[in-house]
Amino acid sequence: MSTKNDILSAIRSHTGKRYNMPELTLDAITYDDKIAQFSEALEAAGGKAVVLQAGEDVNDVIRRHFPDATRIASNLSGITCATFNPDELADSRELDNTDLSIVEGHFGVAENGAVWITRQVRHKALYFISDSLVLLVDKEALVNNMHEAYKQTENMVYDFGAFISGPSKTADIEQALVFGAHGPVGVLVILK
C-alpha cells in the first residue's frame, strides 16, 4: 500500500502542465467494397477469406479446404464436420494435436483482415493450439477500421478477447517470414 502511495505522490508532485484529452475526431479510411478489402488484407497477413455462396453448406467448404484434418474441434451446433466438442474436455492440454478448430467471430475489420473474437469456448487455448483455425463471420458484420471496431466492442463483456489477423507468424530469423510460429499455420475466414 505504501508503495502505491509513494508512486502516486511522486506522480502528483512531478506532474507539471496537465493536458486535456483530445477529441478523437478524424476522417478514418472507409472502403467501397469491404469484403474485397478484408480479403486482400487477410491474404497479405497469410490468411484466406471465402464468401459462403447461397445454398452452400459451410461444412462442405471446411472439408474442401482441410481434406486431411482428422481431429476437428468445434462447439458450434451447425458444424457437423467437427469430430469432438472441445468444451467436453476437462483439461485444455488435451486440445494439443488438434488439426482444426472452428469458432465464431463477432466481426471482421476491412483495413487489416482481423476478426474480433471473445472467448465463447471453455478453453481459450482452442483459438491458438490447433494447426489451422476457421473463423466464421457474418459478412454483413465487417467494419472499415479499428475505430469502428472498438466502437463495436464498447458494450461487450468478455474475460478474454482478441483481434486475430491471419495465422501465427514470425520473422525473427533474418526477417524471413514463417507461418505457424506457435499457433495456427493457417487461418480461413468464412464470411457467411
Binding site: F160, A162, A171, H182
Partner: protein
C-alpha cells in the same frame, strides 16, 4: 574524442558485409512502414492524436492509474505496485513462491529486461522460458536483444542453425528459417503445456475497463497464458490509455510503424483471471515518475516501443544494437539511457548525426533528435563532455568571435592544402579516415568582396 559507442561502431562496421546486410534489412522494414503509412490518408492526423492522447495520459497518471486499478480489481485481478526493479522482481518471486512454481513461461517484455528479472529469478533456481522465437534464440545463446522489436536481428541464420543443432538436435547444416522455426515450435509446445506460471508484458493498459492488451505476431503470449492457472502481466505505467476508443488510434499505428503490418496477428485483451486461476498485474514506476518532472524530456513517455526510430536511424542501422551501452538502443534508447543515468550512459549521445528522421517517423511524435541535441548541451555540466571536442569548439569560438583573426587565418589557410600528405592524413585526423580534406580557396569570399571582385 571517441566514445564507447564510436569504438563499438567501428568494430561493427569493420565487417562491412554484415553491416550492409543489417542496414539493408532494417531499411526494408522502414520501406514497409512507409508503404503502410502511405496507405492511410489520415496517417499524420493519427500521429497527432496519438501524441495528444499520450500528453493527456502522462499528465494524468495519478487519476488514470487509480481508475485502472479500481476496474482491474473489480475484474478479479490482483494489482501490485512496484517502485523500482527490485520491488518488481520481488513481487514476481513472491507469486512464484506462493504457487510453488518452478517454470515461468513469458512473452517478450522490455520491462522485465529493464528490471533484470530473468537473471534475478534464474539465480534463485527458477526456470525462465522466453517464448518469443527471437528471445528464445537469444536465451539459448546467452545474449540480450539488439533491437526492441526484432531482438535477434543481428544474428545470421547459420549461427541460429548451428546453435539449434546443439540444443535441439536439428539436422546438421540446415539453416532454413522455416525448418528452424518449426523445430522450436515443436520444442516449445511441451513448455507451454507444462509451465507453472505465465507472464506477459502489456502494450496497453486500459483505465476505463481495467484490461491489458498484448500484441504479438507469434501468438506466444496467448499460448503461454492458455494453460497455467496464473498469469502475471507487468507494465511500465506510461502504458496506460484512457479507454478502448483510444486503442483504435494506437493499434493502427503500432504495427504499421514497427513492422510494416496493418496490425499484429494477435491483439489480445485480458480482463479476468481464468476460472480458478489468478491474474496478477504489476504497475511499475522504476524512474518513470521522475521523467514527469523534466518538461524537456517528458515526451519520451509517449513511446509505444514500436522500434521504428531504430529502423530509420542511419547510425543504428550501420552500428547494431550492441554498440550502445543502454539496453534499449537507437534514438529512443539514447534518450531513455540519459534519463536513467546520464553519467553512466552519456557515451550513446554521440550516436546521432541530428538528421531528425526519427522525430518524423515516430508514431507518437517523440522529439527524439531534438532531445539528443539537448542532452549534448548537458554533457559539459555533468563532466562528460569530450575534452577534445571542448577544445575544438572553444578554439572555433575564439576564432569566430574575432573576425580579423578569422580573416587572417583564411589568408594562410591555403597553405594547409600544400602540406605533405602524411601530415594531413595521420592517425590523429579523424576526418582523414575515408575522406579527403576540403581544399581552402586561394581567396576567401570576404577578401574577394573587400577587393571589389564580386560584381
Amino acid at each position: 574524442m571517441s566514445t564507447k559507442h564510436s569504438k563499438a561502431a567501428a568494430r561493427f562496421i569493420a565487417n562491412r558485409k554484415q553491416e550492409a546486410w543489417h542496414d539493408e534489412t532494417l531499411w526494408m522494414v522502414r520501406a514497409k512502414r512507409d508503404k503502410m503509412s502511405h496507405s492511410l490518408p489520415e496517417w499524420e492526423r493519427l500521429r497527432e492524436l496519438a501524441c495528444d492522447i499520450k500528453l493527456y495520459t502522462n499528465s494524468h497518471l495519478d487519476t488514470l492509474l487509480e481508475e485502472f486499478e479500481k476496474n482491474a480489481l473489480a475484474n478479479g485481478a490482483i494489482v501490485h505496485w512496484a517502485k523500482d526493479a527490485a520491488e518488481h522482481n520481488a513481487i514476481v518471486l513472491n507469486i512464484l513462491q506462493q504457487h510453488k512454481a518452478h517454470t515461468l513461461i513469458k512473452s517478450k517484455s522490455m520491462l522485465t529486461e529493464e528490471c533484470g528479472m530473468n537473471e534475478f529469478l534464474q539465480e534463485k533456481g527458477y526456470d525462465i522460458i522466453e517464448s518469443d522465437l527471437g528471445e528464445r534464440i537469444l536465451q539459448w545463446m546467452d545474449l540480450h536483444p539488439s533491437h526492441i522489436v526484432m531482438p535477434a536481428i543481428h544474428i545470421k541464420r547459420q549461427e541460429v542453425g548451428e546453435m539449434m543443432e546443439r540444443v535441439l538436435g536439428t539436422e546438421k547444416g540446415n539453416a532454413d528459417p522455416t525448418y528452424l522455426t518449426h523445430a522450436v515450435r515443436k520444442d516449445m509446445r511441451e513448455k507451454f503445456l507444462t509451465a507453472d506460471v505465465a507472464m506477459t508484458g502489456a502494450n496497453f493498459a486500459v483505465a476505463s475497463t481495467g484490461e491489458i492488451v498484448v500484441c504479438t505476431n507469434e501468438g506466444n503470449a496467448d499460448m503461454g497464458t492458455s494453460f497455467p492457472p496464473v498469469h502475471i502481466a507487468t507494465f511500465g505505467m506510461e502504458k496506460i490509455v484512457p479507454n478502448r476508443e483510444s486503442l483504435g488510434v494506437f493499434t493502427r499505428l503500432l504495427a504499421r510503424s514497427g513492422t510494416g503490418q496493418p496490425i499484429t496477428s494477435y491483439t489480445s485483451h485480458y480482463c479476468n483471471p481464468k476460472e480458478g486461476g489468478e491474474f496478477h498485474i504489476i504497475i511499475v514506476d522504476n524512474g518513470r515518475s521522475d521523467i514527469l518532472a523534466r518538461p524537456d524530456h517528458i515526451r519520451t513517455l509517449n513511446c509505444i516501443r514500436c522500434g521504428e526510430c531504430m529502423n530509420t536511424c542511419p547510425v543504428y542501422r550501420r552500428t547494431g544494437g550492441y554498440s550502445y551501452t543502454y539496453f534499449i538502443p537507437g534514438p529512443i534508447g539514447i534518450n531513455l539511457g540519459m534519463l536513467k543515468d546520464p553519467v553512466k550512459y552519456s557515451d550513446n549521445v554521440s550516436a546521432c548525426s541530428l538528421c531528425l528522421s526519427c522525430s518524423n517517423v515516430c508514431p507518437v511524435k517523440v522529439d527524439l533528435g531534438e532531445q539528443i541535441y539537448r542532452w549534448r548541451q548537458d554533457l559539459d555540466k555533468i563532466g562528460r563532455a569530450s575534452s577534445e571536442k571542448k577544445l575544438m569548439s572553444g578554439g572555433m569560438k575564439f576564432l569566430m568571435e574575432r573576425p580579423k583573426l578569422f580573416n587572417t587565418a583564411l589568408k594562410f589557410a591555403p597553405l594547409v592544402n600544400k602540406m605533405p600528405r602524411f601530415m594531413v592524413y595521420n592517425g590523429l585526423n579523424a576526418w582523414g579516415k575515408g575522406r579527403e580534406l576540403p581544399v581552402f580557396a586561394k581567396e576567401s569570399f570576404n577578401e574577394m568582396w573587400k577587393n571589389n571582385k564580386i560584381k
